[in-house]
Symmetry: C2
């Protein structure tokens, strides 16, 4: 089965005027600012203007624990959105903005695939409306002000060794992970160790995704902690008088971007925080607009249900006040087979041939992960729907195996061929989603604000991850106590662990039990509004491989982009 | 005399629809891509579509050697553009895009001032359409590929100590001037010294300004030299297979941005290369569009006529093939007084009171600089017009003094009050410009392509700067010979020296003679297409002051920007 490339399909798309797309959402042209031919910013006044319209059914799209190849969550989100129209429903899709660095690294673009894509593909994968760049600029403006503060020895005194605020760049650049700055002469700043993270790992990005308005973003920026005084008192962006300038730099970036799918479904593309040290969810403001702009709002949450969906429920919904009506779990034959432990999947490499051969037993052998992720949705009181994302090499018997596993766990389930067939391939799935979303919701967060930080961590570790307990390194325990002392105990927690296992050990497949979550370090994203716990090696700056995607990207004789996937 | 702030004036402006502004230029809506409410990108197909329309009179706006405060060159360019309409002429204005870093540093915005501004002021001074960010991203993509090449030890072998390609960021960040990268573990790259420059200092920016089409930009990017092999052979961006990705990153950035003045005059805002190590001129493609879009095209060249205008004539016009018809030299009372050597002017501080007092003798005492800059225009066969940019505290007797000096040197001259009065304040000046531009042009470059690099440098040093000779440091002489050997002898030269003196010594005022130009180092911007010579301390990364402009910038209760100047 041969299909044109994503770029070729995307380029052939006939785009609807965005004013028409917006009109379907109840959004008038006075609220739109076009950015290039394929995108428009939506003014946040839309939130109030739409407030009296009916609330959409709110559906989060998550997945089983993915292979390093990814299981097509964006594609499925887009596919369901498109399929809803085939059922006569108006749906809005909300996704994260892809990071540009990785586009030129290993993975290529991230706007869905096949006939379930967000278009124009080049625009979403490159600069879009400049939000990533604005986050980079705002973050680095604060960084420069931190070092300027040190250089001039300004008040409050900032201990250079306490500075945790790094710099960011939206390029995969391994050589910037650990650097020494301030070398040269006396006029060239204070010498110290620091480094760059990729922009998606910026607290500014996390905060952009969680702010519910411009003033709220301003306040959150002010609360960012960059380091401490010699006495250990936190020094904030507000203390450095940087938060105003950062807000002004981000004034356009706080507005969600309207795009569309290949079939003209409205798509809100906004923010792109990391899925390990941050929420991995698109923005609260986008969802606050989308929640009144159709009958369904489909929002994507990064990585597996233990990661993106857990944060969606306990961090994002806490910030937005919105309550979900259903959750989709994307499952693939290859991921279930991978969870059998019988195969090794490597990013950028083809699947092993024995994995591609028809064998429903291999699928059944990986069932535990899907079953656990179904439970992880249900523990939040939300109805799960398993979406079998069909791939070209799949066998019907293997789809049936997934169906049996899902049904045995009491979940709705459907096969979807949205990649090959667009919206019409997702109709059965969309019908299941609609049905689940119309059940009465009994959504509940896993823990209340007033629970202790330790209890919050414990709730996630035991109820979602299946750990038997949590073990804190001595420094981590002290940090946790210190954050509680500083009055941050009311914040939700974000557990930074591998996305390749429900546990904190990337080599443990399925649904591991009898293990202990090791907390190495605890940090506070006070501006974003959560405490995060480092459990394992977290890479916040990817590197380029020997032959990165960038080497294939170019323009052709007609000036058209080639080599972007 | 009290005038509202630039921001207040700009915010009160009623903007024309950009499609109307474009229509006045003969540019249809099919060539426009809107970016936000105040700007649109113009497709480069406009160059061909407009080719049959009459050629505009081409006027470069330059200045006498400025004080550290700047003498209002952008303001005058905008003012003349607006004034042309009062005379019944259609004019287009072309300016550089301001760098965002300095907006939050010492100087505030750079979109003109008073009633001669480009609007929306916030948009031009912040992200505009993202071109600066795209230059940053393209530059740093190459940087990451350089370090990845070193990390993997790929072919051709690149000597890490030979790497001259740094990184860039559009933030004033002194601590990044000199850094060590690649620290950490084996996976974190190769340890070496490098640093960040501000984005305006990127060769990618210089190249964006000189490319005459998308394919030409692609070719220039490929020619960028990042370092050399152990044998001293140049290693290029093409060798690293980075130029295609860089081109794709810059695909939108190569399109000029259409904005407008407060009076609705079309303004092409495009590219912003440094004025010392690069041309300090806006883009060739913008001028290629503007040259057929009205009766006059007013294009600004950075710093004094010895700097920006010389590069305009000998580098930019060489790249574009366009020939100028007149040149404006902006002069102010304060700058002439400063050239008397009787006062000290410091950026960010008020003028000394004795300098503000009426004293035409002080103006006459600074005459030499203006006279020399008039000669510097005339040596290129172009008619000079002196624009006296009137400031609130000026005295008529002092304007008369400038008029006498200019007339004695045979130049046209007019006082202009465009800052206080908008276009109608610049009518006398615009009439002079029109008159000068209608004289037959005898434009000639200072040197032919085939002159030796030494002869080119010598021509500028002696004929424009008034030096008696050029002295090369031994290493500089060797570099110059090496570039000639490498076949780069045909390139024009760009002399990187202070902009605060016609000489290379910032403390020498007026029109110094009897001095020797000391060339410390020679570098090649092969992609941009010029050889540049370092004569004195060149700072390519500004720092923030103790109380940078950023500390004043914020949003107010209505979400409007405050504190941006």
């Amino acid at each position: 089965m041969s299909m044109p490339s994503n770029l070729a399909i995307a380029r052939d798309a006939v785009l609807r005027p965005l004013t028409d797309v917006a009109a379907d959402m109840g959004i008038g042209p006075h609220l739109l600012e076009p950015y290039g031919r394929g995108a428009a910013k939506i003014d946040l006044a839309a939130i109030d203007e739409l407030a009296d319209r009916p609330k959409a059914k709110y559906v989060v799209v998550s997945a089983i624990t993915p292979t390093p190849l990814g299981e097509g969550k964006t594609t499925t989100t887009v596919g369901i959105g498109q399929a809803m129209a085939h059922l006569g429903h108006r749906a809005t899709v909300a996704i994260r903005q892809p990071s540009m660095g990785p586009t030129f690294g290993i993975k290529g673009g991230a706007a869905g695939g096949g006939y379930s894509q967000v278009v124009p593909m080049e625009q979403i994968n490159l600069h879009l409306t400049g939000d990533m760049h604005a986050v980079t600029a705002a973050h680095n403006q604060l960084s420069a002000m931190v070092d300027s503060h040190l250089h001039f020895g300004a008040e409050p005194v900032l201990d250079p060794r306490s500075v945790t605020w790094r710099r960011v760049i939206d390029v995969n650049d391994r050589a910037l992970r650990n650097i020494v700055i301030g070398l040269g002469s006396r006029a060239d700043g204070v010498v110290r160790e620091t480094g760059f993270d990729i922009t998606a790992a910026s607290e500014v990005m996390a905060l952009l995704a969680l702010a519910d308005s411009l003033p709220d973003m301003r306040a959150r920026l002010g609360r960012i902690v960059v380091g401490s005084t010699p006495d250990g008192e936190p020094v904030t962006a507000e203390d450095l008088r940087a938060a105003g300038a950062m807000t002004v730099i981000l004034k356009q970036a706080i507005k969600p971007n309207l795009m569309q799918t290949l079939e003209g479904t409205p798509v809100l593309v906004h923010a792109g925080p990391f899925g390990n040290i941050a929420t991995g969810n698109s923005s609260v403001v986008a969802d606050r607009i989308g929640i009144h702009s159709g009958e369904f709002l489909l929002t994507e949450a990064g990585f597996g249900a233990d990661m993106g969906a857990e944060r969606f429920f306990n961090i994002k919904c806490r910030a937005s006040g919105l309550t979900p009506d259903a959750a989709v779990i994307v499952a693939t034959v290859r991921a279930l087979k991978a969870h059998s432990g019988r195969f090794t999947v490597v990013a950028g490499k083809p699947l092993p041939p024995e994995m591609v051969a028809e064998n429903p037993d291999d699928v059944h052998a990986g069932a535990a992960n899907l079953v656990k992720q179904i439970e992880n949705i249900r523990v939040h009181g939300v109805s799960p729907v398993v979406a079998i994302n069909a791939f070209p090499g799949d066998h019907a018997s293997e789809h049936d195996a997934i169906r049996q596993i899902a049904e045995a766990a009491g979940a709705r389930v459907a096969v979807s061929t949205h990649v090959a067939d667009g919206g019409k391939g997702g109709v059965e799935l969309a019908a299941m989603v609609a049905e689940a979303a119309h059940e009465p919701s009994s959504f509940q967060m896993l823990y209340p604000d007033e629970a202790s930080l330790r209890d919050k961590v414990s709730a996630i570790a035991t109820q979602v991850y299946g750990a038997s307990g949590v073990e804190y390194a001595p420094a981590a325990a002290r940090q946790l106590d210190r954050f509680t002392e500083l009055g941050l105990g009311h914040l939700p927690v974000c557990i930074a662990k591998t996305h390749l296992s429900i546990s904190s050990d990337p080599s443990l497949l399925g649904a591991p039990t009898g293990w202990t979550l090791p907390v190495r370090e605890v940090r506070a994203s006070v501006g974003a509004g959560f405490i995060y716990l480092i459990c394992g090696e977290m890479r916040t700056m990817p590197g380029l491989g020997r032959n990165p995607a960038a080497m294939q990207v170019d323009i052709d004789a007609d000036g058209e982009v080639v080599g972007l996937y």
